[in-house]
C-alpha cells in the first residue's frame, strides 16, 4: 500500500503501542498511572516513553494504543491551549472541556473511518471538583470513580473498584499510591506488554504533578516451583 493511500482515509493499524492506563479519584483529586513502555508488536522497543501528559493547568491525559497518534493528540491540544491563552478572555479550559473536545475529535475521526487508535483517560481538578473520564478510538465515552484502559480493564479495574468505590472522599494520597502500585504490579506480572517502570500523576487543587519514573520491585523465585507447564519435565 502506498504512503498516500495510508495517509488518506484508509484504515491503519497501531504500530508502536502503549498498554494500560489506570486512574482513580481520591480525597484530594485524581491520580493516574501508566508505565514507560512503547512496544513494537511484541518487542519492548522504547522503555522511556511518557504516556501521561499535562494539558493546561488542570488536566492530565493518559494514553494507551498508538503512540504516534498520541503524539499528534499532544500536538493539537498544545495548539488549542495556546490559542485559548492568547485570547485572554478570562476563561481557561478545564478537564471537562478538554475531554469534550477530545471526544468530538475521536468521534469525527472514527466517522471518517480514519481513527486515532487510542484509549485515553482524562483526569483533572478544577473549581474544587474532580473530573475523570474515558474516550477511545470509536468516540465511546464514560466516566466513573475508577477507570482502566487495555488489559488494566480486566486485571486492575476489579481491584480498583474494590479498593475505591464508596471511599472516594476518604482515600488519602498515600493509600492511593499504594493501590496504584499494587495494580501496576499485577499488570507487570500478567501483561506481557508492560514494564516495571511507571509514572504517577496527581491532579489536585495545587495543580498537576507528574512523578519521576518509579520502579516496581517484584519477586520471581516462585517461578521455579511452578510445575505443569513451561520448560520443566517433572
Amino acid at each position: 500500500m502506498s504512503i498516500a493511500a495510508q495517509t488518506d482515509s484508509c484504515p491503519r493499524q497501531p504500530i508502536v503501542t502503549g498498554t494500560s492506563v489506570l486512574a482513580l479519584k481520591y480525597k484530594d483529586g485524581v491520580m493516574m498511572a501508566a508505565d514507560n513502555l512503547a512496544s513494537y508488536g511484541s518487542l519492548a522497543r522504547f522503555k522511556d516513553i511518557q504516556r501521561l501528559h499535562p494539558v493546561g493547568k488542570y488536566t492530565v491525559i493518559g494514553a494507551g494504543g498508538d503512540m504516534s497518534d498520541f503524539q499528534y493528540i499532544q500536538k493539537f491540544l498544545e495548539q488549542l491551549i495556546i490559542e485559548e491563552f492568547t485570547s485572554q478572555d478570562g476563561h481557561d479550559l478545564g478537564p471537562a472541556q478538554i475531554h469534550e473536545y477530545l471526544s468530538q475529535v475521536m468521534y469525527s475521526r472514527r466517522s471518517k473511518i480514519n481513527p486515532l487508535w487510542n484509549s485515553l483517560l482524562v483526569g483533572g481538578f478544577k473549581d474544587g471538583k474532580s473530573f475523570l473520564s474515558y474516550v477511545d478510538l470509536l468516540g465511546t465515552t464514560y466516566s466513573a470513580t475508577t477507570l482502566a484502559t487495555g488489559f488494566g480493564a480486566y486485571l486492575a479495574q476489579p481491584i480498583l473498584r474494590k479498593e475505591v468505590e464508596g471511599r472516594e472522599n476518604e482515600l488519602t494520597e498515600e493509600e492511593a499510591i499504594r493501590i496504584m502500585e499494587s495494580c501496576m504490579k499485577v499488570l507487570y506480572y500478567r501483561d506481557a506488554r508492560s514494564l516495571d517502570k511507571y509514572q504517577l500523576a496527581v491532579i489536585t487543587a495545587d495543580g498537576v504533578k507528574i512523578s519521576e519514573s518509579r520502579h516496581l520491585s517484584t519477586t520471581w523465585s516462585f517461578a521455579e516451583g511452578i510445575r505443569g507447564y513451561g520448560a520443566q519435565t517433572q
Binding site: P11, R110, I113, T141, A153
Partner: protein
C-alpha cells in the same frame, strides 16, 4: 497477449476497522391516558466488561418529550446532542417547544439522512401529544417509526417486550365472563410494571443492571400526580410553568 490485463493479486487481508460496537443496556416506554413513562438502566458495557455503572440513556428534551437511546453509545450521545440542537433552533425560531409528533418526524429524517452510514441506535420517544394524551414513538436505526402504547428495546428487548404485550395489551389473556380489560392503565400500575421489567431483566441478562432511571411526563393538570406522592427517590425536572410536568425516579438495580 499484448492486451492482457494484469490482475492485481489479492493482498494479504488487512484488519478492517469496525466503526461500531454494542454497549448493552435496555430501554422501555409506556404511554398512559394522560402520562408517559420512559425508562432505561444505567449500565454501560462492552463485551463482558462493565465500563461504568452510571451512563444515562434517557434524556429530557422538553417538558413534554423525553428520548431514550440504546445501542452504540457514542452514536447515541451524538444523536441526542444533534436532536437537542435542532430543538433549540426551533425554540429560537418559533418561541415555543416543538410538539412531540413533530420531534418524532424530525428524528425519522435525521436517522434516514444517515441511511448509508447509520446511527447504530434504537430510539424510543415518549411524552405528551398536543391533545394531552400520552404518546410513545419507537424507531429503528434508519428511521422507520410508529406510535405505540408501549415498546422495549435493547439487550433485553426479547425478555421485556413479551411481558409488556401480556400486561399492557393483555395478549393471551381472556377477561373473566361479564368483564373487560381496562382501556388505559393507571400510573401506579405502569410504574410497577416498569420496575418489575427491569428487576427481571437484571436477573436474566448480564448487560442489564446497576441503576434504573424512570422519567414520568404528566399532561397539564393530570390527576395522575396523586400516584406520584409516595414514590421513593423522585425529583421534578419541569422547566416551564403551568404546562406538562416531568419527573425522574432513580432506583438501584443489582450490580452483579
Amino acid at each position: 497477449m499484448a492486451d492482457m490485463v494484469s490482475i492485481p493479486h489479492s493482498q494479504p487481508q488487512q484488519h478492517q476497522f469496525n466503526p461500531y460496537t454494542e454497549n448493552g443496556g435496555t430501554i422501555l416506554a409506556i404511554a398512559g391516558a394522560d402520562f408517559s413513562v420512559i425508562a432505561g438502566d444505567t449500565r454501560q458495557s462492552e463485551g463482558y466488561s462493565i465500563q461504568t455503572r452510571y451512563a444515562p440513556k434517557v434524556f429530557r428534551l422538553t417538558d413534554k418529550a423525553v428520548l431514550a437511546v440504546n445501542g452504540f453509545a457514542a452514536d447515541g450521545n451524538m444523536f441526542v446532542k444533534k436532536v437537542r440542537q435542532r430543538l433549540e433552533w426551533y425554540r429560537h425560531a418559533h418561541a415555543k417547544d416543538m410538539p412531540i409528533r413533530a420531534i418524532a418526524r424530525l428524528i425519522q429524517t435525521m436517522l434516514y439522512s444517515r441511511r448509508f452510514f447509520p446511527y447504530y441506535v434504537y430510539n424510543i420517544l415518549g411524552g405528551i401529544e398536543e391533545d394531552g394524551t400520552g404518546a410513545v414513538y419507537s424507531f429503528d436505526p434508519v428511521g422507520s417509526y410508529e406510535r405505540e402504547a408501549c415498546r422495549a428495546a435493547g439487550a433485553a428487548q426479547s425478555l421485556v417486550q413479551p411481558f409488556l404485550d401480556n400486561q399492557i395489551y393483555f395478549k393471551n389473556q381472556t377477561p373473566a365472563p361479564g368483564t373487560s380489560f381496562p382501556g388505559h392503565l393507571s400510573l401506579s400500575t405502569v410504574l410497577s410494571l416498569v420496575i418489575d421489567s427491569f428487576t427481571s431483566a437484571t436477573e436474566r441478562h448480564i448487560e442489564v443492571g446497576d441503576g434504573l432511571e424512570m422519567y414520568i411526563v404528566l399532561a397539564k393538570n393530570s390527576p395522575s400526580i396523586q400516584s406520584l406522592r409516595d414514590i421513593r427517590g423522585m425529583s421534578e425536572l419541569t422547566a416551564t410553568e403551568d404546562g406538562e410536568r416531568v419527573f425522574v425516579v432513580r432506583r438501584d438495580l443489582k450490580k452483579d
